[in-house]
Symmetry: C2
Subunit: 170 residues, 2 copies
Amino acid sequence: MDLFAERGFEATTVAEIAERAGLTKRTFFRYFGDKREVLFAGSEDLRAKFVEAIAAAPADAAPLDAVARGLDAMADLFAEIGDAPRKRQAIIAANPDLQERELVKLVGFAAAGAAALRDRGVAEPAASLAAEAGIAVLRVGFEQWVSGPEGRDIHELLRNSLAELKAVAA
Amino acid sequence: MDLFAERGFEATTVAEIAERAGLTKRTFFRYFGDKREVLFAGSEDLRAKFVEAIAAAPADAAPLDAVARGLDAMADLFAEIGDAPRKRQAIIAANPDLQERELVKLVGFAAAGAAALRDRGVAEPAASLAAEAGIAVLRVGFEQWVSGPEGRDIHELLRNSLAELKAVAA
DNA sequence: GCCGTGATGTCACTGTGTGCCATCAGCGTA
DNA sequence: TACGCTGATGGCACACAGTGACATCACGGC
């Protein structure tokens, strides 16, 4: 993160990252599948929170409301770790390769969320659509959070975004 | 496309593609920003159809209905060129790097669709959400089309997918 | 003291992607 | 015809990502 902030992602070589971390290039690639992955190592936690919250939603909750619980759980995590996500997002915003990887992660969230919904008895394609819609809400709300003024509550932004989606789809 | 179908994307080098096309590696990279891009060259047309149809929707159409027009226009193009998209999708499905690039293209569609909606007077974040939701519908419907039996009508799949989204968001 | 086992280092190598310069065809102009 | 300009291409050389193969080393069990 330090190196990326100093020189940018592209201008930082894996050898330099490895040296800073006290290991070799080869060992770096044993821990991370590729150079980008080092910035997304924490995303499994996020996905886990998301699916757990969906699974834990009341049995009679509608699919999209279960997804809303998942989004709320993600927001908890964001709020918890302060503005680290914002710094990280600035690095990602400056590099197309990283944006690609982020999209992959988000689609992975959608797939995991859809699976969690199916476990709740939601049929396809409703499960996938509810999960994809939830990720759309996340994208839009998160974008407002990182690009807007500091201190705004990410929970509220996501809730508003979801309400807006419901209004649009009505 | 021939080379990718024979040996797979990864096992095909840019030098081989260039040779087959009668030019050099260097020239290939002047036409395509990277190796993956050669598979996505036609996507600008698709995006253009999408935004044109949104712009051409009746002035009183709801945002999501304007997006539905856009999806219909894309379906026209898919149906027109037969099963080439299915072959292409098989290549993409076999390679994570290509999937990443496809997501980027889809998100680009969403952004272009959102801009078209804003031109129609739709405010944010409704415009982005409607466009993102439309792309979710496209992903789910297209996935059914390529993975399901041959001969199904992509228009119908997309319409059903959209109806399902509306039901889920109700 | 010996033997796995897992983590790490070292080395060589392929392939992507880029910068730099040479070449060449076409085209307008004197 | 000769000249110079321009745009497209080829031909290098290179940095860097990522991988396979092998060596090394620390460790714990026996």
